[in-house]
């Protein structure tokens, strides 16, 4: 089938970008969205033009590298599917697709469809872990964790950090991403000792990065390729509120968002 692709081209974040229209005539319904871009890029290179830059790696929907807007929807029309696993059979001959990068101040553009998502790494760095060093941990079965608890933690832990939630949110909030990590670790007994500190530091880091606030619209979970439930945001808010109420000054003074890194972007 034949498709028209209107793709956002921008050399870097300093220069102005624009949509450029391309026709791709040999689209096979079995190919993925990224393979469709491969086909386009091969023809661009053969014509001596620069190919469209887009982030991708595993192409199995798990590394979280890929992602862009297709006709205004993060990762395109299929639920729970990243663009690397979105097959072209969901489109029909003659369709026009507008393809553009994630739009968020917190994700500065690098080139074409590639954006810088290091703000996500800063949020994890602020406290998205259990502070245990390598060594002689106790036997894995010493701590009994019911299946329902383990499953709930796994639901939240499935986040791939692609950034679709931020791109879909009218406020460009990172609440679903941050909430997912807070819920994953806070649900498990191993994560309980640092629950207050984690919520305070991760949320304060999220606020330092240029993400907006969550107003419970729910677009994020709608486009999430791993269907992370909105509930994780409630968990984050509750943990943050409880920790704040305790007014633990020793924790509060200890928390320093990674500002210099965030400023570097």
């Amino acid at each position: 089938m034949k498709l028209k692709l209107k793709i956002w081209r921008q050399k870097n974040c300093k220069e102005k970008g624009k949509f450029v229209q391309y026709a791709v005539d040999n689209v096979d319904p079995e190919m993925s969205m990224l393979e469709c871009l491969d086909v386009l890029n091969e023809s661009l290179i053969e014509r001596g033009e620069e190919p469209v830059a887009f982030e991708h790696d595993c192409r199995e929907g798990i590394c979280g590298s890929c992602g862009f807007m297709i006709n205004g929807v993060a990762h395109g029309p299929e639920r729970a599917t990243t663009v690397c696993q979105l097959t072209m059979r969901h489109f029909k001959d003659g369709d026009e697709l507008a393809i553009e990068p994630w739009r968020s101040v917190a994700f500065p553009l690098v080139k074409d469809l590639v954006v810088d998502r290091s703000a996500f790494d800063h949020i994890i760095e602020a406290g998205g872990y259990i502070s245990v060093s390598t060594g002689n941990a106790q036997d894995g079965n010493t701590l009994l964790i019911g299946k329902d608890t383990a499953d709930k933690a796994m639901d939240a832990a499935a986040c791939i950090g692609c950034g679709a939630c931020v791109a879909a949110c009218p406020n460009a909030s990172a609440a679903l991403f941050t909430g997912a990590k807070i819920a994953h670790l806070g649900t498990l007994p191993q994560g309980k000792p640092e629950r207050d500190r984690r919520a305070l530091s991760m949320v304060s880091q999220m606020n330092v990065e240029a993400f907006g606030n969550c107003t419970n619209i729910g677009e994020c979970t709608g486009v999430c390729p791993k269907e992370i439930p909105l509930e994780v945001i409630a968990t984050m808010n509750r943990d943050y509120l409880l920790a704040s109420c305790k007014k633990r000054e020793d924790i509060a003074t200890d928390i320093s968002p990674v500002i210099e890194l965030a400023a570097k972007g």
């Binding site: 190919p51 097959t87 390598t134 191993q190």
Partner: protein
């Protein structure tokens, strides 16, 4: 040159304890004075960088992706082995060791494998402590399942996303050290050369992929954890960015490359659908626990699978291997799939596929149980193929998945260049000629969390380091070489894209050095690779410039290295006149078509040394000795 693997003397059960005790320690106050470089942020790299940071060393960790969390370890689905024996089914450290030696077809070092089996239990404990959400029973204990090639249930898993969860655990530990300022994370940066000063690995040349700028990084030791080279075949289950550039350039600086022809073909991948195909998608081997593999008995039978009656189906693995059935090791399962397709009994559009059928398991256990076990894999299959595996059998075919070969390392994981350590899939050490399922995650984390933090310390404590800085002549000449290569690739301005060359190279390898190899075919492949490589340097086109994000240029450099590696791979395969594990030479098979080893002549590690662009590489042998598991013909019948 002779190779000293530095295997501790004495009983194997005490070897690692003894080695650790014999190691010199670095004074805690001195640790921060040592700079270390870790290249790669997958399971091995992230766990090493985090653990070394925790000890107080000053670590720089590099990855080419935008974040360390993207490393390809993340895509491992099935699980991680450990000798816990929680299910009380006869598992032990010795059995895991035994199975791994045998599974690797007696082409790996016993001492390394024994240590791996010992450490496996600590890995599970460490990961649980980090909050990795392993699958649990209702009563709260950890769940195990059996996995390809094993008759005990020793595999721990987190749904079909075990690699993701283990990597996120290591990534989080790494970010904790970034926060503590012991580790500096340098993403979107690729290692292009290694700096060797006075025979010691003292740093790397790196290129920032966004700005194109070269930087020199000096350290007291360099740790490569850059994964395998499966992408040399173009179509593989590896991530698109996975590449061999770091290990290849270390090879050209003097590190030996061991057993390059030991590549693993995974039996359960979604078949190729067209020419545009960019990669192959793996379906976890755990599916073979409940799925039954079959093809029609009749050649060219085009009926839909549900119209083929039971009596006209050939469950060929169950028929040929009654005791292991569908759970035979990967190499055996792959070869058998190829054999039935070669007979003309393959299924699907291309005839290159076999059925993996769940109807019996669904009837026995109910759809709900199957959904719980494999739900995400079934969803993924349906997304890609538009077929519902709950109703129609899956179609699968083997694909390149893992490379057992890699840089040669001794028991301390140090290469032949002092100060260069190699971890995980990038080294050759533990899997011999065939890796068992759920052992890659185990090895990556074992190397990174529990081995290299000790052995690097020993190296630092027992060596002296001359003062070297970025302006050192070796560093500057390495930068110049890397720059020249980039300039050259940009200046050719030929007619063919990098991908078109890579695809053609991959096809040569798959045809002549894939699931079945012959001396004649390998000879032909070597010739064709050379011709294609010459054309590459005359006729490739790389648009754009070297001073901004240029993905074609990144690929061009990696494919240039793949050309050279492909040749070495075929040379090694030609040289190894026997069949073992994933290396199947058609000339060497038993009457019923199984791999025929030649222990008398080939019980060694083939370590290759670089001798220049047009010179044949030098072969150095490390003899293998088996004191515990007596080499036998593998039988899964």
């Amino acid at each position: 040159m002779t190779l000293d693997a530095r295997i501790p003397s004495g009983p194997i059960e005490q070897a690692w304890d003894k080695a650790r005790f014999d190691m010199k320690l670095v004074n805690p106050a001195n640790k921060r004075k040592h700079n270390l470089i870790v290249v790669g942020s997958g399971l091995a790299g992230a766990s090493a960088a985090a653990s070394l940071g925790e000890l107080g060393y000053n670590v720089k960790c590099f990855c080419f992706q935008d974040s360390p969390r993207r490393a390809h370890s993340i895509a491992a689905q099935g699980g991680i082995n450990a000798a816990k024996n929680y299910p009380n089914d006869g598992e032990s450290i010795y059995r895991l060791f035994y199975d791994t030696v045998k599974g690797g077809d007696f082409r790996a070092r016993e001492a390394n494998i024994y240590r791996l089996a010992e450490i496996s239990n600590h890995i599970i404990d460490q990961c649980v402590a980090q909050g990795v959400p392993f699958a649990r029973e209702y009563g709260g204990t950890l769940t195990n399942r059996s996995f390809g090639g094993a008759q005990v249930s020793r595999t721990f898993y987190a749904r079909g996303q075990t690699g993701q969860q283990l990597l996120l655990g290591a990534y989080q530990a790494l970010e904790r050290q970034v926060h503590a300022r012991t580790v500096t994370m340098i993403p979107r940066t690729e290692m292009l050369d290694m700096i060797v000063v006075d025979g010691q690995a003292r740093g790397i040349v790196a290129r920032n992929l966004v700005t194109g700028k070269f930087t020199v990084h000096i350290a007291d030791a360099v740790i490569l954890a850059t994964g395998g080279y499966g992408n040399v075949y173009y179509l593989s289950t590896n991530a698109k960015g996975s590449n061999a550039t770091a290990i290849w350039r270390a090879y050209k600086r003097g590190a030996l490359f061991a057993n390059p022809c030991f590549t693993q073909i995974h039996p359960t991948c979604i078949p190729v659908s067209g020419e545009y195909q960019s990669k192959l998608t793996l379906m976890s081997e755990s599916l073979r626990n409940d799925g039954r593999i079959w093809v029609p008995k009749l050649k060219g039978d085009k009926r839909p699978p549900n119209e083929i009656p039971e009596g006209e189906r050939d469950y060929y693995l169950e028929r040929r291997y009654p005791s292991f059935g569908n759970l035979v090791p990967r190499d055996v399962a792959s070869r058998n799939a190829k054999a039935v397709c070669d007979e003309g009994r393959g299924v699907g559009k291309t005839g290159l596929g076999v059925y993996l059928d769940f109807s019996e398991a669904i009837a026995r256990l109910g759809e709900k149980t199957i959904r719980e076990r494999y739900g995400n894999l079934f969803d993924m299959y349906q997304r890609i193929t538009d077929e519902d595996p709950y109703k129609v059998p899956m179609r699968i075919y083997p694909a390149i998945h893992y490379t057992m070969g890699g840089l040669w390392v001794d028991y301390q994981l140090q290469s032949t260049i002092p100060g260069l350590f190699v971890l995980g899939e990038a080294n050759f050490s533990d899997h011999g000629a065939n890796r068992l399922g759920a052992s890659a995650l185990m090895q990556g984390l074992s190397d990174g969390y529990f081995i290299v933090p000790y052995t690097v310390g020993n190296y630092l404590a027992t060596n002296k380091f001359a003062k070297v800085d970025e302006s050192h002549a070796e560093a500057q000449s390495a930068v110049a070489i890397a720059q020249q290569k980039i300039d050259k690739l940009l200046s050719i301005k030929g007619k063919r894209t990098v991908d078109s060359f890579h695809r053609e190279l991959g096809k040569i390898l798959w045809d002549y050095c894939g699931m079945a190899r012959t001396a004649e075919g390998l000879e032909k492949a070597i010739g064709e690779i050379r011709v294609l490589r010459d054309e590459y340097w005359r006729n490739v086109t790389v648009p754009g410039s070297g001073d901004d994000l240029n993905q074609s240029l990144e690929k061009a450099g990696r494919v240039a290295d793949f050309f050279e590696l492909a040749e070495l791979l075929c040379i090694d395969a030609r040289d190894r006149n026997e069949s073992c594990g994933g290396h199947f030479r058609e000339e060497h098979q038993t009457p019923d078509g199984e791999a025929q080893r030649d222990d008398e002549h080939y019980s060694y590690v083939a370590a290759w040394g670089y001798r220049g662009r047009d010179a044949a590489p030098e072969l150095i042998k490390e003899p293998l000795e088996f004191h515990y598991v007596h080499p036998s013909q593998r039988s899964y019948k």
